[in-house]
Amino acid sequence: MPSVSFKVNGQRVNVDVPADIPLLWVLRDQLNLKGTKYGCGVGQCGACTVHVKGVPVRSCSTLATSVAGQDVITIEGLSADGTHPVQRAWEELDVPQCGYCQAGQLMTAAALLAANKKPTDADINAAMEGNICRCATYRRIRGAIHRAAELAAAGPSRAGSGAPRDRED
């Protein structure tokens, strides 16, 4: 079995893996990082989204060997203590229902905000379209992304101007 070495949430790891194994299963079953979820295995639902070099990728459809030497961030490493603006906004708006899709939603949203500090509804729709929420929490996810943008602008510890209402722009 090939061995592959990369960084996960800032820590270097070295694992022996089957040549064809997707990153998802290495994270979940070999590194015991259960936050990243399996939903479809074919790149359709986004539940398995992680960041590789800051870019959101579907770990179910990414070969583990292809991330050799790279930086991988999972939901467990999105922040040290659950205070990334998207996490704070998600809690403030009580976004989840079953919660299963939310790690993938949060990772996709965090990558969007890193690239676009003040996304419009259309920007958010385009960025989030690949993430299925079977419980259909879509409106709250969108509201929480707007709220996270406010929180991020206000700085790490200060609150923004209150949760936005469900809206179209």
Binding site: I75, Q102, A103, I132, R139
Partner: protein, 722 residues
């Protein structure tokens, strides 16, 4: 239908001091949800009772409340303990919630289904909290030698205002344990106007764990020495295994066991298959690619959606074999009517596809089984495992994990019994995980249905005849318009098809509402009447008094219809190409009327601008955030059904295999949903389901209003561009 009995006379409390301090309050009561078995006095009250809830007080002032039912995203893990905490008068911040293990002897019925958690538990849990509070007040009164009635409680403190004395609950535990528990049916309950927790928004108790990716779900379970398993079944539903190359598969990398499992005939039990167990799930799944199995599909191999469609049309030409309602004389009324409207409707099989694929972890050790499972029905799961494996239920422990969605799929425990059998045969702990493709291929699908209508309105624009021939429909009945049309006949036929089916969020109703409320719209159009006023007029013209099986109140429905009319601005002028549609439906004890505003562009592009949901679920909304989540989620799920969901059957198997071939609603198509609860003086009822059904016909009726095109077949798919 289940009778929900109020908390009975024989319910009582049991109190025990906990080792290391603290007080445990347990409520015993007659089983809820089962009609009383006469008034036979029980010699030993425990022999006929069950323990329904637990409160654990701790010396440090914190309280642990056990949540008895499975959490599948419907919010019970927050809502049920909230009811206890309200009457108990403890601050929510001091409460820790624990998921109760499966132990129906202790907790009473534990399941998630039928929007029953609120109606089955509302009364009992209030009384549980109130009784515990009464004992703490009693303890303080005894210590202070004052009348209990002169004491008040707030924030886990008892106060005697006249003397200015206070005592924390924690300081009263030892004395409280000596107080005789009050009879549950006599304990005074709070005036709802004084509620501090119930009716106020409370976030999901697990939210921090969810947003930080902590393990919570069945798929996240790890036990020492755990292996990983996959299970291959016949693609034709219920097919039998003839032979398999398990000896070759066993030699593949990482594979530790590969064996044939012989199952039975029940589609929701253990079916024939091949188990592959490996050191990792990826190895097990990879080995599956080399598996060669010969199957015998049996009679079901001839089933197809197209064949069912042809069969339904053929059958509906003549009266069907079973008549479920017959009022007046439909044939005569249709013959005499100046105009008869005829229409054929159908809706397809659809999948549940909760986002967490089916999985269960099982360990067989010393003749006992331990199971960790995301299930909506742990007790029937245990019974199924016990029966199939020949183990006494007492030797099976079930841990219920949070579920990544349920929607009715996890009412069936097929994946649980598979994991149990594989663990027992392999002799190692295993986590069985289905792929999404397994889930599509082996769901218990929402039943497809075909309806053949004939209806008539008279010169005054009133409905005088309604005939519905239903083929393959899973209920074969209708709460409405039964009783509201003088000549009405419902017939049903359910030929064999062999496809496994099961309850999916608002079962029966999710198809019935579409056909009934669409055909009502057709009659309103034929009568040249406003479709909303036409419905109000129908509801106000009850022609047959309600019989014992009629549960539907026309007054409550008419009211929500009026409220949604006003909230949506029904009748307002809309731009060209836009329309509003309305529908209502009664299900799971809830009354819902909904309006959709939608537009269709020149090339058939559909835009849903807004949905209005108005529901009557009784006098109390327990957790408003969650209630809104459930209502919005239900409405958006209905839209998802309507837009594109369709599972085709061909040669006795599912055709679509994953989300690339089967479209679920995604963010850009999720419209804003306005939710309003119209409170009425009725017992609070559940919300998982009843908001879903009306949105489908409301959308289709909006499309008709916008374009003149009537959607008679779901999903809408590309019908608008044709």
């Amino acid at each position: 239908m289940t009778t929900i009995a109020p908390v009975g006379r024989r319910a009582f409390l049991k109190v025990a001091t906990l080792a290391g301090g603290g007080l445990l309050v347990a409520v015993y009561g007659p089983r809820l949800g089962v009609a009383a078995r006469g008034d036979r006095p029980a010699a030993d009250p425990l022999a006929d009772t069950q323990l329904n809830a637990f409160i654990r007080f701790h010396d440090d002032g914190t309280v642990t409340i056990l949540s008895k039912n499975p959490e599948i995203g419907q919010g019970v893990k927050t809502a049920l303990p909230l009811i206890i905490a309200e009457e108990l008068d403890v601050p929510w911040a001091k409460v820790t919630i624990e998921q109760a293990p499966l132990d129906p002897a202790v907790f009473g019925p534990q399941f998630a289904g039928g929007s029953t958690a609120t109606p089955l538990n509302w009364d009992l849990l209030r009384r549980t909290g109130a009784a515990a509070r009464a004992m703490l007040v009693g303890a303080a009164a005894k210590q202070w030698n004052v009348a209990a009635a002169t004491c008040t409680t707030a924030d886990a403190v008892v106060t005697h205002a006249p003397s200015g004395r206070t005592a924390t609950y924690a300081s009263l535990l030892a004395v409280a344990a000596t107080i005789t528990p009050p009879a549950l049916d006599q304990v005074p309950l709070k005036d709802p106007a004084a509620y501090r927790l119930v009716g106020k928004p409370h976030k999901d108790v697990d939210i921090h764990k969810i947003v930080t990716g902590q393990p919570l779900y069945g798929i996240d379970v790890v036990v020492p020495g755990m292996h990983h398993a996959v299970y291959e079944k016949c693609p034709v539903f219920g097919g039998k295994l003839v032979s398999a190359n398990v000896d070759e598969v066993r030699k593949l990398p990482g594979v530790t066991h590969a064996f044939v499992v012989k199952g039975g005939p029940a589609l929701d039990g253990l079916l024939d298959g091949v188990a592959i167990v490996a050191d990792s799930w990826w190895h097990a799944q990879s080995a599956r690619g080399k598996l060669k199995v010969q199957w015998d599909g049996g009679a079901t191999a001839a089933t197809s959606t197209a064949g069912m469609d042809a069969k339904a049309r053929e059958l509906a030409r003549a009266p069907l074999d079973k008549v479920t309602r017959n009022e007046g004389d439909v044939a005569a009324a249709l013959a005499a009517a100046p105009m008869v409207v005829e229409a054929q409707y159908s809706y397809p099989f659809i999948v549940h596809a909760p986002l967490e694929p089916q999985n269960t972890t099982a360990e067989w050790k010393d003749g006992k089984l331990e199971i960790w499972s995301p299930t909506q029905m742990p007790q029937p799961g245990r019974d199924l495992v016990a029966k199939t494996l020949g183990i006494p239920p007492a030797d099976i422990t079930i841990h219920v994990t949070r579920s990544g969605g349920g929607f009715g799929r996890r009412l069936k425990n097929d994946y649980m019994v598979e994991a149990a059998q594989i663990a027992k045969t392999a002799g190692v702990p295993v986590k069985l995980l289905w792929t999404r493709e397994d889930d599509f291929a082996h769901d218990h699908y929402r039943q497809a249905g075909w309806h053949f209508f004939r209806g008539a309105v008279d010169a005054q624009g009133q409905v005088v005849a309604w005939q519905d021939r239903m083929v393959y429909d899973e209920i074969g009945e209708a709460d409405f318009p039964s009783r509201f049309v003088p000549n009405l006949r419902l017939e049903v036929s359910t030929p064999f098809h062999g496809v496994p089916t099961g309850a999916l969020r608002a079962p029966g109703s999710n198809g019935q509402a579409f056909v009934v409320q669409s055909f009502v719209d057709e009659l309103a159009f034929a009568a040249r009447r406003d479709p909303l006023q036409f419905r109000l007029d129908m509801l106000r013209r009850q022609v047959t008094p309600p019989g014992p099986r009629d549960r539907f109140s026309a007054e409550r429905m008419a009211k929500v219809l009026e409220v949604v009319r006003d909230r949506s601005g029904w009748g307002k002028t809309l731009p060209k190409g836009r329309g509003m549609g309305v529908a209502f439906h009664f299900s799971h004890r809830g009354y819902f009327a909904e309006v959709v505003e939608a537009g269709v562009g020149a090339r058939g592009g559909l835009v849903i601008h807004q949905v209005w949901v108005v529901g009557d679920i009784g006098r109390q909304v327990i957790n408003p955030i969650n209630a809104e989540h459930q209502a919005i989620g239900g409405a958006l799920e209905g839209i998802s059904h309507a837009l594109a969901q369709e599972l085709t059957i061909d040669k006795g198997r599912a055709v679509e295999a994953n989300f690339d071939e089967y479209a679920l609603l995604r963010m850009p198509n999720a419209p804003p949903v306005d939710v309003f609860f119209h409170l009425t003086d009725n017992s609070p009822t559940g919300l998982g389901e009843p908001a879903l059904p009306p949105v489908i016909p409301a959308l289709c009726n909006a499309i008709f209003a916008a374009t003149g095109k009537r959607i008679r077949k779901l999903p809408i798919g590309n019908q608008l561009s044709a």
